[in-house]
Symmetry: C2
Subunit: 438 residues, 2 copies
């Protein structure tokens, strides 16, 4: 005896086709193992004439409302992307008490609180494993497998496009623009890559992940966000010389006073750190729990099949009733979470990497270190190559822990010096936690 | 409004104390986030006079039956270990319809089918996240987050004791006996380490993990099992020269004909493989799913807090009702899984590492390669140091893919040669799957 679950699939791009392929080819296994027979009642597309490669036939239409309203549909899978139209359709489904499975992090980051509240009002539920980390079951881990833990920090590589570009810049010495073009040609970056390379996609995912980890509400505006679009290949090379690899990291930290900081920026990661090994379109998310210590989840962060793996795993949880139980009982979703106490941005502590362009004249280093020292910023390493006296040369400095506010003030003062060519590049360094290797 | 869950804790060793510490210190968070108030009604111990460091008081007794029978107890947490007594007490709890949370892989590997069936008969459930991989939520991932996938393979480092010993042998050149002594002194190995170093503990865990991954039943007797207790430091050094690190791996594979092989043995892992970086008491489990591709789960595989993290996360799932929903609906547990089709042991394919002790006389290599070649075993690399003619010297050979049966026959023939000093060391090599780094 298997239970039939009627599905309306909104959007049949690469992830949608991946979902259908899994449902088509795995139906026997799903019936045997989970007692579920998925019945795709509607595939809603923009262009019904486009050739599609379904393994079995599915009814294709352009009428999303009709598909959602169909009484034989219990679950609406939203894979259209975008905020306005997708949001309106999800509202419609939730008001009918239907469960929504979505990969739409932009929508959830923008309107999560409202949509989760609407779901609760109508005894519906939202599942969103596919919204972060592709096929890595990180949302389920935060909701379930790590639930005993008071989570201290979450650090992740959660954008496959940026990681692909950075991997190519690092391994082949490409400039940013060339690596981007290559990523676009290989299908790893969109024609307009802004959402990815600006760090905003990562910020949206981080808002969701940190929300679940800390049981708090966050918005993109709570974060320090820097993308990879202004990253200079020279900094990747200097970082390498110093023993680091540059990765675009999402970092959420909670300090002893329960103050939370969220940031997204290119980060120098020590080359022995496991995050340094995460290449290409792979993602990895490290979580530090008070009981568990460090755990890491690694896998494909994007692409048709991996993201479809998350969508269909959600469908199975919906089918057996597990999604509803979790949705109804945990108070960590955007509508039930508590407001977060944010650490003021100036107070965020980090180690820093500075690349100054300094005139090679006597006394320059003394003036630079004086400006840093006055603000309590102490140097960890300095890298300066030989040059002819009087030339402008790159001087790379790494610091010990310092506050964002102090660094900002120091940078303003440094850039004002006549012996320094503005702007000074400022990146952050993350240290491997000590317990990592024991 | 929070729901009260009455608990009887059987066993208060290091994991039991870790569980109480989490329950004691996190009670406010559990009430806020999950709406659950855990009420530890009984802590059953062997020696009631032993000093214990509970944060809050708990009633300690020696009467397990009374604790289980107490009507205010809904969940029995079994952390005693061992098979007979623990099994009898779990039976008692299940017959009363109580949920059991256990970390006892030996018991589940030996009697899982019977106990799961008993739980089903009495409308109870068994949760066992802590039985494999310490705090890593791998069981939950196999049950839920990866459920869309037809799983092809599972490869893991799932014994912290062995990994600690191998890490010390590799990084400090210690002999096995010395590394074991150090592990015992550091609390990473028991006074009688047999269960761990023989590979049996890994085999019991692999039976559970592969059972869930493939929806099949397995027993220890279905596996090829070799421990680390006869590993020679010289092989670690030769492996290093060839670019490999030796790890004790659990390997479950399913081939295109749905034949499954399960094995536990010291394995040469390429030094660029992420598994090579898993040091000390950490665990890591790689899973290959047909949709997801490769995913890896990494974290602390043993110890008080990490294992307690898994136990308490299970308690939370039990408390919100998620455990029961999964237990009732998935047909992958030992009592509902299908019998597995096993690949005959002789047919298992692997690459091999052989260390022969050969007399350095003309024609030896020809005889060795002839014996291997006759069975279709081709050489990948040979390592032989200069020596005086006529001496016995180590000759290390790595092969391309070969069958276990062919290697066994070749070894018998090689060891019978008068120019070879028996026994020849035979280890297996695992290759990084191609898709790993793309």
């Amino acid at each position: 005896m298997s239970k039939s679950i009627g599905i309306a699939l909104l959007g049949s791009g690469i992830v949608g086709e991946g979902v259908l392929r899994i449902l088509d080819t795995q139906s026997d296994r799903f019936r045997d193992r989970y007692g579920i027979a998925f019945d795709v009642r509607h595939v809603v597309v923009r262009d019904p004439n486009k050739k599609r490669s379904f393994v079995v036939d599915h009814p294709v239409s352009t009428d999303a409302e009709k598909a959602i309203d169909d009484p034989s549909v219990q679950v609406v899978v939203e894979l259209m992307g975008g905020v306005d139209r997708a949001g309106a359709l999800i509202e419609r489904a939730l008001k009918l008490g239907k469960t929504v499975v979505t990969a739409n992090k932009s929508l959830l980051a923008a309107r999560g609180s409202e949509l989760f509240s609407l779901a609760r009002k109508h005894n519906a539920a939202i599942a969103f494993e596919a919204s972060c980390g592709g096929g890595i079951p990180i949302i389920d881990a935060l909701l379930r497998g790590l639930s005993a833990n008071d989570i201290r920090a979450l650090v992740g590589i959660i954008n496959g496009t940026c990681n692909y570009i950075l991997t190519r810049m690092t391994k082949s010495g490409l400039a940013y623009a060339d690596a981007l073009k290559e990523a676009q040609a290989a299908g790893f970056a969109e024609a307009d890559p802004t959402l990815d390379v600006s760090g905003r996609d990562v910020a949206q995912k981080l808002a969701l992940l940190a929300g679940l980890a800390f049981g708090s509400k966050f918005a993109e505006s709570d974060m320090l966000i820097e993308g990879i679009d202004s990253l200079d290949a020279r900094d990747i090379e200097f970082a390498r010389e110093l023993g680091y690899v540059i990765k675009l990291l999402a970092i959420a930290e909670r300090n002893g006073k329960d103050e939370i900081s969220l940031r997204v920026h290119p980060t120098l990661v020590h080359n022995t750190d496991v995050l340094a090994e995460v290449s290409g379109s792979f993602n990895a998310i490290s979580v530090w729990g008070h009981a568990l210590g460090h755990a890491l989840f690694y896998g494909r962060g994007a692409g048709s099949s991996p993201t479809a793996s998350a969508v269909v795993s959600d469908l199975i949880s919906v089918g057996i009733g597990a999604t509803k139980v979790v949705f109804d009982n945990l108070k960590v979703f955007p509508d039930t979470a508590k407001p977060a106490k944010l650490l003021p941005r100036d107070q965020i502590q980090s180690r820093y990497y500075l690349r100054l362009t300094a005139k090679d004249v006597p006394g320059v280093m003394a003036r630079v270190t004086d400006i840093l020292g006055k603000r309590g910023i102490s140097l960890s390493a300095v890298l300066q190559r030989e040059a002819s006296e009087g030339e402008f040369v790159p001087v790379v400095i790494t610091t010990h822990l310092a506050r964002e506010g102090a660094i900002r003030q120091a940078l303003t003062e440094l850039n004002a010096l006549e012996v320094i060519q503005s702007p000074t590049t400022c990146l952050r360094i993350i240290d491997q936690p000590k317990e990592f290797e024991t």
